[in-house]
Symmetry: C2
Subunit: 270 residues, 2 copies
Amino acid sequence: MEISRPSLEERAAECARELTFSATVAYDGAPFAGFAKQPGQLTVQGELEQALGLLFRRPVDVVCAGRTDAGVHARGQVVSFDIDECELRGRTPYNLRRSLNALTCEGIAVRAVEERPRGFSARFDAQWREYKYFLATGDTPPVFTDRTAWYVGPNLDIAAMERGAAHLIGEHDFKSFCMAASAVGKPTCRNVEEISIASEETLGEPHRVITVRGNAFLHSMVRTIVGTLVMVGRGQRDPDWVAEVLAARDRQAAGENAPACGLIFWSVGY
Amino acid sequence: MEISRPSLEERAAECARELTFSATVAYDGAPFAGFAKQPGQLTVQGELEQALGLLFRRPVDVVCAGRTDAGVHARGQVVSFDIDECELRGRTPYNLRRSLNALTCEGIAVRAVEERPRGFSARFDAQWREYKYFLATGDTPPVFTDRTAWYVGPNLDIAAMERGAAHLIGEHDFKSFCMAASAVGKPTCRNVEEISIASEETLGEPHRVITVRGNAFLHSMVRTIVGTLVMVGRGQRDPDWVAEVLAARDRQAAGENAPACGLIFWSVGY
């Protein structure tokens, strides 16, 4: 029986077929100088692109659903990248996931790799993004979640925080909630679909978890929303002050950024 | 109006009144060489007794509900100690808690201090003790609970583990589940009231949590139970093998100790 070999022309045509993949990535933000690549720094993008470069022996760029700052964690960050079919050499998405996990440093876990429609972009095709912010609310600081929560103590007025958060739901200009330098000359309207506050025991320690979901987010927007709501929860400001902050369109009007360690980029919808 | 001062005799009588306190203590086991004091080592008992010594300017001994090995965590360890009433100088249990938290190192949190009936012993008055063991069961190792879980992957047969665990419920000689050196010449019968396996998402990562409750536990008994059950869950042994292990009264018959980092001493009942 003769084995049928593809002709050179067939192989060239096959190589022209570009495939798009997405990877769902979790990371502990602590060791990284953020998601975005920076020369001489440990970054999540740098680790992923280095791993893909080793696998495919050429530079491979990744696009992410949302850049995260230094120290911010991710449970469901999504990145996309393009690979020519012939470069795959038979590798399945499952193989790609295994290789990426083997070639990236500790603190990064590639949860899934999927083939996507050609040209899919983790950034531009995202319909919504969800973040969760963990507040530790026990009488004493947490011993198990010190790396993934902001310790604020037990006396938050949650009802007041919920009333304050209600002002932020819907499409608004969130310029007051954007790191000033990033806002210059760029559109700052975003649509926030949900802000909810749940009570949760994590590893036996009490927490309040603030879930924020919207179409897209400005630089440090979730941390500024949380910092602002915690001021309301502590009674330092009235719930209606949040509406004034929003109307001011000025970062100085809002509360401090909540610490990076409490924030987890939770999931993305496509 | 004359101020009534206590006489010397009255003050001496007051000082003879010994009060007993308990403290509920959480700790991250990682930095400690276990609970029990050891010269030249960082231990939980050492930290607590040093703090009490600084507060009361004399050595104060603490008794614990259950000694934990190096690396084992606690959410609800309980210790008891005696203080003469006159030494308190008006300090309330709330003040004691604050002082202990201020004087112990990071990684220890004193959750509560309570006055107990005189002569109360955290060890001898305990009716039951509960431990939880966290197994991380995702496709990839956890990024947020690597410090508080044992990563065993997603393919455990939980029903088989539950059938195996059923053999351990009740009063038995648990010599096979006790670190050999500790068992020599000591009673090894214990009453295990509950072993249950729950599914739990912790910080967005999938876990199985094994709860073990009993009247008292031998040295490394919970970790040996978990190590043995995980062998059953992985299909390396049948559920009925657990009955053989129990009957053997020989530590060599059981599975390996599960790693310390997954174990949390959860609570104690009095």
